[in-house]
Symmetry: none
């Protein structure tokens, strides 16, 4: 029962998935999340800008002896940094959004996370702020959405409960037995999020130069559309490389023309 | 989705199962249990000798608007009285005991509860005191034992978490094979191949102009790589439109620069 053991090094961290709490407000909740994770053998807890700072004695107290999770917490300034080394990221949302990302239930999401982890992919799930969840930019950074099948008349899971259910579903998927290799074409592993984010920035800088973001009020939605499309494409590292080559060709062309123009004037 | 609806009369209470808290110590925990239940459409909460009495303002506050569960709480002096009207009762335990009762996991137990409820049986689950659970007499009153598959090195579920997992398992058992979430992203349908082929040609013509296809012997494989990637991305018509806008921005930039260069020479 390997999946029950407490994970204690980088290799075994990859056997599980990362829990990313975005701007958590209360130390108690961070502690309860750590405790929930530990029950199901998860240990990779990442915090993006915890409101009350870190370390937190309230978190440690609420973790109820899940000290190995609290001690291994990593801190980040942005969701981009917190997910840079991961290949596949889910965002939790409580309500429907105008999103073209696939929406999964917990069991389905957990089975997919297990399959990806078995292939060596780094995976993670974003959980939003206690009061209002994730913003559109943050959801936009994820590959897919996971939501919990709660009563629509009373949907009130706190963050630790949501983490508990997802951790339980992950562990249950491991017991399910459906871990048999899929006889599919071996798809290349998705690029890390860091590679993808660098592609975003490269493309956006080149498009800025070319005058794409016009009119100005549409900049935000144009950027989101591009990012959503590139995320959805589930690009491998070689594909990211190819696309950056495409952008570089346009960069080079414009630079050469500008140089000639400078020489001519 | 009958099982999602809030249960409000004796008949529909029987569609779910009773949560029986034996000598719960903290009002907060009773409230968190009510909140956990409400998320999954359960409403029959029974208390045996709550330490701090009943009603409890702390319980109501912690229930976070699950008032219909708090208002319907029933009080008993003994486990025998609390389960008198039920046909089948499970006891939750965290550790192995000297017992000849069957021990079930949550999914198995939940499926059995659903089957019995469908036959009209009244069912319930006993949860013990925060500090030390159920005593042997109380476990002896149950038909079977249910336990949670937590990491034996870190087994630390509080009472509300245990109720949450059991409620979730019960709801999941009702969904059976249907793992679809409550809301679906409206995934746009893929663009027509004609749209896709026009995108190929546009991109390739622009890249030709920019000098991307170099060295010449690699032209074929570079073209194939681009087409494979764009096909794999399963682009919708609006996405094809967006990508053509991106290419047009680079086209326009180069054309403007060439025009200036022509004017300058």
């Amino acid at each position: 029962m390997k999946e029950f053991s407490v994970l204690d090094d980088e290799t075994s961290r990859r056997a599980g998935f990362a829990i990313v709490l975005v701007e958590p407000q209360l130390g108690e909740n961070i502690g309860m999340v750590a405790r929930a994770m530990a029950n199901f053998g998860l240990a990779d807890l990442r915090l993006v800008n915890p409101r009350d700072g870190w370390p937190s004695e309230k978190a440690r107290a609420a973790a109820s002896r899940a000290d190995h999770v609290i001690d291994a917490v990593s801190l980040y300034d942005t969701v981009e940094e917190a997910t840079a080394d991961l290949n596949f990221v889910l965002a939790t949302t409580a309500r429907a959004r105008d999103s073209f990302k696939p929406v999964r239930g917990p069991e389905e999401a957990a089975a997919d996370l297990r399959r990806r982890a078995a292939e060596g992919q780094g995976t993670g799930i974003l959980f939003g702020r206690e009061r209002w969840g994730l913003n559109n930019h943050e959801v936009g950074l994820a590959d897919e959405i996971v939501t919990f099948p709660v009563d629509p008349k009373f949907a009130s899971l706190n963050i630790a409960q949501a983490v508990l259910l997802m951790s339980y579903a992950w562990q249950a998927a491991g017991r399910g037995g459906d871990l048999s290799p899929r006889f599919e074409a071996k798809l290349p592993e998705p690029a890390t999020k860091d590679d993808l984010f660098r592609l975003f920035h490269h493309l956006e800088a080149s498009l800025e130069r070319a005058g794409y973001f016009f009119p100005e009020p549409k900049r935000e939605v144009m950027t989101q559309n591009l990012r959503t499309m590139l995320t959805k494409a589930n690009l491998s590292e070689p594909e990211v490389h190819t696309l950056r080559g495409v952008i570089k060709a346009f960069d080079y062309e414009a630079a050469q023309l500008r140089k000639k123009l400078g020489d001519a004037s």
